[in-house]
């Protein structure tokens, strides 16, 4: 059985659909450090809402509020699996 994907990787992969792999990964790293004060490797389930809140303005700017919420809902669904 495959190991579950780390949380940060799942989030980065979802936003990379829009932002590309480099910017997706860097966005998760940057906003993790900004919102939580630590790196994406330390991300726990409890941190996810704060990280997603930090990512929201970026996504809203580039894909609009409606699509941003759809992407965040999709990320939450993927993390619940």
């Amino acid at each position: 059985m495959a190991e579950p994907r780390p949380l940060a990787e799942t989030i980065a992969a979802r936003i990379a659909v829009y932002l590309g792999p480099h910017t997706g990964r860097m966005a998760v790293k940057t906003f993790c450090e900004r919102a939580l004060g630590r790196g994406p490797d330390t991300l726990s389930r409890d941190d996810v809402p704060r990280l997603l809140a930090a990512l929201r303005p970026m996504l809203r700017t580039l894909i609009g509020a409606a699509q941003c919420e759809a992407v965040i809902a999709q990320i939450n669904r993927e993390l619940e699996r």
Partner: protein, 274 residues
């Protein structure tokens, strides 16, 4: 596949236009062909930018950016329409000479283009995206872009500025247009940088096509500048300029459509490997 069509389509349109302009010798037919082409490509650009604008909700950052781009094309089309109105209504509209209407519409169109391009150019910064290139390299690219924009649109600016200083008030409109062109062309660098930062993602498509549109306008201005220095033949030069205009406008259509496709894409489409 749809995005690739948006990338290749404008090249095919430009090639078809070049062939058509090469094939038509009769001056009346040529004039008609150019008029139809100019209005058609502006309409397509308007449709693309308006499509992108309405894709976003009220309050979304990019809605206003695309709306301003659409407004620019709308005002330029309105200016063209006043030429037709002149044939039916005479030289005045609502008691004001049509030259003043033309001037006001061109000035407003340029202002909208500058503001729209400025908002698009700032989107990457506002979003806080991380650029893969170093700050130094980005500054070099920006410097090169400003130098190229000045080299291409600068000569026209100098000529029109001299005309204004010599008392030709009519040259104020092309002068303002030149200033607008230079400012808008300088925004190519940040838009291109955004496209590069987003490569591999769906959003790279609208930004790449937008960069292509801006480069098309740069080449369009370049074709006009070339006329000041090289004996290329006015007919050939005009054809060259129109091919670049067609590229600029059809890539604006493509960018707007790509923007809509991205924003309306399914949020659950397969994720890229991180």
């Amino acid at each position: 596949m749809r995005y690739r069509i948006l990338l290749v389509g404008p090249l095919l349109v430009a090639a078809a236009l070049a062939v058509a302009l090469g094939a038509v010798d009769d001056p009346n037919q040529r004039r008609l062909l150019l008029r139809v082409e100019i209005e058609l490509v502006k309409l397509l650009a308007l449709a693309g930018c308006a499509t992108a604008a309405v894709t976003f909700a009220r309050g979304d950052y990019l809605r206003r950016a695309w709306a301003l781009q659409a407004l620019c094309y709308l005002l330029l089309l309105t200016r063209d329409a006043t030429y037709l109105a002149q044939l039916r209504l005479g030289p005045r509209l609502l008691g004001i000479h049509l030259d003043y209407w033309h001037a006001a519409l061109v000035l407003a169109g340029n202002a909208a283009a500058v503001l729209g391009s400025w908002r698009l150019a700032r989107a990457g910064q506002i979003a806080g995206i991380h650029h893969p290139e170093s700050r130094m390299r980005r500054r070099v690219v920006l410097g090169i872009t400003i130098a190229v924009a000045l080299a291409i649109a600068g000569p026209s600016l100098v000529i029109d500025l001299k005309a204004v200083l010599d008392g030709e008030t009519g040259a104020v409109v092309p002068l303002a247009s030149d200033v607008g062109d230079i400012i808008s062309l300088c925004f190519i660098a940040p838009v291109m940088m955004t496209a590069i930062a987003l490569r591999g993602g769906l959003l790279a498509w609208p930004w790449t096509l937008l960069t292509a549109s801006m480069l098309g306008w740069l080449l369009y201005d370049g074709a006009h500048t070339l006329g000041h220095f090289v004996q290329f033949g006015p007919q050939r030069l005009r054809a060259l300029g129109e091919v670049f205009r067609a590229l600029a406008c059809t890539y604006a259509l493509g960018a707007g459509v790509a923007q809509r496709l991205v924003v309306r894409s399914s949020a659950s489409s397969p994720a890229a490997p991180a």
